[in-house]
């Protein structure tokens, strides 16, 4: 199975990620993103923490499922809360892809890898979100706290794009750091039995060595499915 997975072409690889098992995870992961955000405001934390679900699903089902989770989170927000969130779907998609491919490369298993994911996530988020804020909204949406920081920086730096970007970097560095850490803690707690059902099409799980408790029983007849 592992060998076969490596031989799959790029498109086949993407198709394989979208099994029913993975698809049902997407609304749930989008839900985790959203309640993660809600919980932040309930606990009066000055954070967003709205991509924990994306990171978890990246570990279970791979980059494209994570990207779709990001897209869906924003579609939900647009339909239920405020359409302003829709253009930022691009940010969520790019972050999902970035995290997904880094997890697939095995970075979520090592501490320096997790740090790398954190930094990559921050950078991707800050760059893409800034571009959207500048090009779609002309500098600020007015609905997030970041807008105020941006305004202050515009006064100091006298450059709109640079101000949007620097305020995005500062907020993201803290927010994504905590989000990656929490996702890491949660993924560690997911039972192995559960993870293994996703291992065929997901990433980030090592192949387990199978040992039968009854060595006397013949295994030859078994077909791997």
């Amino acid at each position: 199975m592992a060998n076969k997975a490596k031989k799959m072409s790029f498109w086949e690889g993407i198709r394989a990620q979208f099994s029913t098992k993975s698809l049902v995870l997407i609304p749930i992961a989008a839900g985790i993103n959203l309640i993660g955000g809600t919980l932040c405001s309930a606990l009066k934390l000055p954070l967003f923490l709205d991509m924990i679900g994306t990171i978890i699903v990246a570990c279970l089902s791979g980059p494209w499922v994570a990207a779709l989770t990001g897209l869906l989170t924003n579609v939900f927000l647009a339909l239920v809360a405020n359409p302003v969130y829709l253009p930022y779907a691009v940010v969520s998609i790019l972050c999902g892809l970035a995290v997904g491919y880094m997890v697939k490369a095995g970075l979520f298993r090592k501490l320096w890898g997790v740090v790398l994911i954190w930094l990559a996530c921050t950078l991707v988020n800050a760059v893409s979100a800034s571009l959207i804020t500048v090009f779609v909204y002309g500098g600020a949406t007015g609905v997030t706290g970041t807008s105020l920081l941006t305004a202050t920086l515009v006064v100091a730096l006298r450059d709109i794009a640079a101000s949007v970007f620097s305020s995005a970097i500062v907020t993201n560095l803290i927010d994504k750091g905590i989000a990656v850490l929490i996702a890491y803690i949660i993924v560690r707690k997911i039972p192995r039995r559960f993870l293994s059902q996703y291992a065929a099409d997901g990433a980030g799980v090592e192949e387990d060595i199978l040992d039968d408790d009854e060595p006397g029983e013949p295994d030859e007849g078994d077909k791997d499915v």
Partner: protein, 276 residues
């Protein structure tokens, strides 16, 4: 009437699991009968149910051996969607059997038909028939997520039965319900069974199993420990060593020292006899 389900030397081990969930299981189910599977937690009952409807090997990955024939063809060669027209599954948690795509009970019932491309007029007809059968025709416009567990389970039952399967696999489908909800579901099961639907059910209610099952199979650690008519299985003195309970009437008749009885009426007769 012949065997509609045949399980031949079937074994399965979930991916990464340490031991096999089921080992060398052999049995067959007669068309139109009520076949009960009993056993302790972790005996492999659910695994077997999942295998019967094709979720193994098409949904759960692992290693398997042996064969399962449903209506003469191997489930491994079919698809879950195709099999659902012959064999349907209802399991324990009602809320996990909703599609989460429907705003109303009627839409929920029709979801499977929609995926199979059934035209709308026929859909409406089938929804009405099934809703009446499941006694949910008064809540067709309600949001399924706002119903009680018993109601949702009847919706789940209806969503499965709307595919008109000839076999129903019921994996503890009344366990999470209150006694009344449980009775309502089982009334429907009896009605369907009487109309010719083959029923394979996992149940913890031993009085019910003893009374209604044609055949009982006891599973223990993935293997068939005993199989036969309820009388054959429950009159075995060592049956409790396989991790299953016996109907209270069995304990009663053992205590009274008479012949073993497994259902209510002969037990009452026996108790009357003893009191005389």
């Amino acid at each position: 009437m012949g065997a509609i389900v045949e399980v031949k030397d079937f074994s399965f081990k979930y991916r990464d699991a340490r031991r096999r969930a089921v080992k060398h299981v052999n049995f067959s189910v007669e068309e139109g009968s009520l076949f009960a599977i009993i056993g302790a937690n972790g005996a492999g009952k659910s695994t077997l149910c999942n295998a019967l409807v094709g979720l193994i090997p098409h949904y759960f990955s692992g290693a398997r051996a042996g064969k399962i024939l449903v209506d003469g063809s191997d489930v491994a060669d079919s698809t879950i969607a195709e099999l659902s027209k012959t064999i349907g599954l209802v399991f324990q948690n009602p809320f996990n059997q909703l599609s989460y795509t429907a705003g109303t009970v009627a839409e929920e019932l029709a979801y499977g038909l929609g995926n199979h491309g059934v035209p709308r007029d026929k859909m409406v007809e089938r929804v009405e028939t099934v809703a009446k059968l499941m006694r949910i025709d008064h809540i067709l416009d309600k949001n399924p997520l706002e119903l009680s567990g018993g109601q949702v389970q009847r919706v789940a039952f209806g969503s499965t039965f709307i595919m008109e399967p000839r076999i129903l696999v019921l994996d503890e489908c009344t366990t999470q319900l209150d006694p009344m909800g449980s009775e309502e579901i089982f009334d429907i099961v009896k009605k369907l069974n009487a109309s010719g639907v083959t029923v394979i059910m996992v149940d913890h209610d031993m009085e019910r199993v003893a009374r209604y099952a044609d055949t009982v199979m006891v599973l223990e650690r993935g293997e068939v420990a005993s199989i036969g008519t309820p009388m054959e299985v429950f009159s075995d003195d060592s049956i409790e060593q396989h991790g299953v309970d016996v109907p209270d009437y069995v304990s009663l008749s053992r205590a009274l020292g008479g012949p073993i009885v497994i259902t209510e009426e002969p037990a009452i007769e026996m108790a009357k006899e003893a009191l005389r």
